[in-house]
Symmetry: C2
């Protein structure tokens, strides 16, 4: 008989009441007396378990009673509504088949495990409540992002992961190579000869798809990337991973205001989608991980985000009666403490800070008429600080070329990027959202290692 | 005034008739006489251009008349229905603003360009009809895949790109490293000391997410990955790229029949979705790229896929009156010519070939009771041959361990993979679909370089 998913049993209990069903899943707990027992079974389709009642009329009653936590079983039985009990229904088993046993040393015995410990069994942790919730939310959020952009006609572009240029200029990179390290080809000067490498040149893992996707915005108008990006930063913090996913939309014929509008709409959309589609998981997070979660998320969905320029923000922060660790100074980047003060104390809602000094922002951002600032925006949210960073891009060929020279970058590395300004360049803008940071924000999980299936960090690439 | 997308003008022409609109886009052609002119404008939102009529009443009439192909403009004007003409409507311009000029040496002048040439300007080619169609279809197909799996409750898992094991055993890999190649750390034996590398060990780019995602199937029951994978194969063919995207679903409590059912449903779903959502693009492909396309795709959507075992297929192929280049022999892998003969001549529809000899298939495939074959399946489709490969997985710990030993693989590399068989293992199955191969199949494009935005192949990582 075809298995029924536990999710369907919960969502359509009336329909299944008193019916005969078959479910397959994994035992979370089993308790039994001489004549009857209870199993909490999770089948992976739903956050909650289903309770199985079994009696000694089963011919394998003894075997079932002694099953270890983690065992996989298939249960045939009848759905019995239990209006008096904690759970709305249970399954009265008429037959239970053992699909795969477990052992007494199964690491996920019913007790509290630290997140640190669970990281060492990353292949098993999605079987726990917390990580089942995290990774279902992650999946739904990814889908929400695609749905948001596709509904608006944005074209999804798979920008390259292996990049031939180190032109993205956003941090340290990982080299990709097939050269035999114990027998490296050398050129006449004794340097490694990358012309012998797989791609005939030195290649790295991408740190951003933005420059590539800009070229597609000049064809499709509205586009986005959503893929893995990499930073070889030696930062062993709770917020840094060497491998993470990023969403980068880009719009032609759009300015900084359009950009902020899109970011605000997108963030609200993802949050609402996850709240609507994973209510049990979100309630779990709100109860057990971060009790301010709902308040925070509802505040985001319901507020009109604030707007302030960097220069105004600096003036405000200078005036407040608060001792910051880092000095507040025009020309320096805002630190997390400054960002959080702005969004939590001054605005008490998400706020866009715009028009940063050009010297602390990337070369491709559009210069404002003051000659000192660029049309950049960072979105700051309560509890975190920056969650999205974007800008209008410099579409004026001469201004962009000057900036590349000023920064001593190699213009020849950017021939194709500059072409988009030579041939029908338009005003355009985009932003980047770090996917894991968004998941942390939506779940209350505080370590990036706990929202990535198999995290890659300094000195760690296990599994 | 806010821009109207050309797609909306085509889809809701009645609604916009005689209305004042603003559109922004890029000039595909411009023709003009002394008193009036026509512009074919494409705004990226839609495959088709919109025709702009402009007259010498415009104060910048001369400037507009002389614009080069590729220029970006913003047009204000009125929608005029043209029931007599080729196109259903045009825009009578009341004002045209130049957003970004182009030059006479713009590489995409109105003439036929070879695909080879267009690969050298991969940053501009999405502005052509062919590549605009390819990359919109690619985007829609990606979305269709997410929609298909999410509607069925499958959890999307981002399996790692950087992998610490070379345990996937599916071909040559790219090394990922931050070691300084001109100053490599060595151990006592003079070998490269990877403990000094970023991850403290040797790491590579993944060739498949399957082993990782299997662990998630044991938690969520139904899961899928969809991400980039890498092969450092020195194959300079029209069907091989070093970087490509792959879809890999995995289902617990599922056997080979469930697996084939899912593959058939998925393939039909993607094709139908793209035909429904990109009718203009698909018609273009059918007219200009491959005139058998619609016939082929409709045949897939409407047929019940065939089923045959490898052993039966060998017997059939031996009997047919056809001279194959490669011998037909039990124990050898089917060559493309064999596959195509089976699906095109014998079945004339897609066909699953199952139960291949174990020695030509991967270690993780489930052994059949005959001791010689495994519960594998390849889906063959007319025009191509194999497009999907999958199997039921070996869930029996002892059988799997024996196979690992037989093949002289290192059991310790698989501790976490084997754990899924130790703790509540279940019957399970999955498959892999190469995304680019699917796009080639759905568009008729014959070179994989022409369905990847910036392709990475042997000796080529430009852009």
């Amino acid at each position: 008989m075809k298995h029924i998913l536990v999710k369907d049993l919960y969502r359509k209990t009336e329909e299944y009441a008193d019916k005969q069903v078959t479910v397959g899943g994994w035992i979370r707990t089993v308790r039994s007396s001489k004549t009857f027992g209870f199993i909490e079974l999770n089948d992976g389709s739903f956050f909650k378990n289903v309770q199985i009642v079994f009696e000694d009329t089963l011919e394998n009653y003894q075997e079932i009673s002694k099953l270890n936590v983690g065992s996989a079983i298939i249960v045939e039985g009848t759905i019995v509504k239990t209006p008096e009990a904690k759970q709305p229904f249970e399954i009265k088993a008429s037959a239970i088949t053992v699909e795969g046993t477990s052992t007494p040393d199964y690491p996920l015995q019913k007790k509290r495990h630290s997140f640190e410990f669970l990281r060492t069994i990353a292949h098993l942790r999605p079987r726990t409540n917390t990580f089942s919730a995290v990774f279902r939310v992650r999946s739904l959020a990814a889908y929400a992002i695609h749905q948001f952009f596709q509904e608006r006609g944005f074209v999804y572009v798979h920008t390259p992961i292996i990049t031939g240029s180190d032109a993205e200029g956003a941090g340290e990179m990982f080299r990709v190579s097939t050269l035999d390290l114990n027998n490296l080809p050398k050129d006449q000067d004794g340097k490694v000869d990358f012309s012998k490498d797989f791609f005939g040149r030195e290649t790295n893992l991408t740190v951003s798809g933005q420059l590539s996707v800009e070229t597609y915005a000049m064809a499709f108008r509205n586009v986005y990337t959503f893929g893995p990006t990499f930073r070889a930063e030696n930062s062993n913090t709770a917020r840094h991973a060497a491998e993470f996913w990023m969403i980068e939309p880009e719009m032609a014929f759009a300015d900084l205001n359009d950009d902020m509008e899109l970011a605000e709409e997108m963030l609200k959309y993802i949050i609402q989608f996850v709240m609507d589609n994973a209510p049990e998981e979100m309630e779990f997070f709100n109860n057990f991980i971060d009790q301010t979660l709902f308040e925070r998320l509802v505040n985001i969905v319901n507020s009109d985000f604030g707007h302030i320029t960097y220069t105004e923000a600096i003036e405000l922060l200078k005036k407040v009666n608060h001792q910051f660790e880092y000095p507040v100074e025009w020309g320096s980047d805002l630190q997390t403490e400054h960002e959080r003060y702005l969004t939590e104390k001054i605005f008490n809602k998400p706020v866009f800070v715009t028009d940063y000094p050009k010297d602390i922002k990337a070369f491709y951002m559009r210069q404002n008429d003051d000659g000192k600032t660029v049309a950049a925006m960072d979105l700051l949210v309560p509890g975190v600080g920056e969650i999205i960073g974007g800008s209008q891009r410099e579409e004026r060929l001469d201004v962009l070329e000057n900036r590349i020279k000023e920064l001593n970058m190699k213009e020849e590395d950017y021939w194709w990027y500059l072409d988009t300004r030579r041939y029908g360049g338009t005003k355009h803008a985009g932003f980047g959202l770090g996917f894991e940071r968004a998941i942390m924000y939506m779940t209350g999980m505080s370590n990036i290692r706990d929202v990535i299936s198999f995290p890659r960090t300094v000195k760690n690439a296990e599994f």
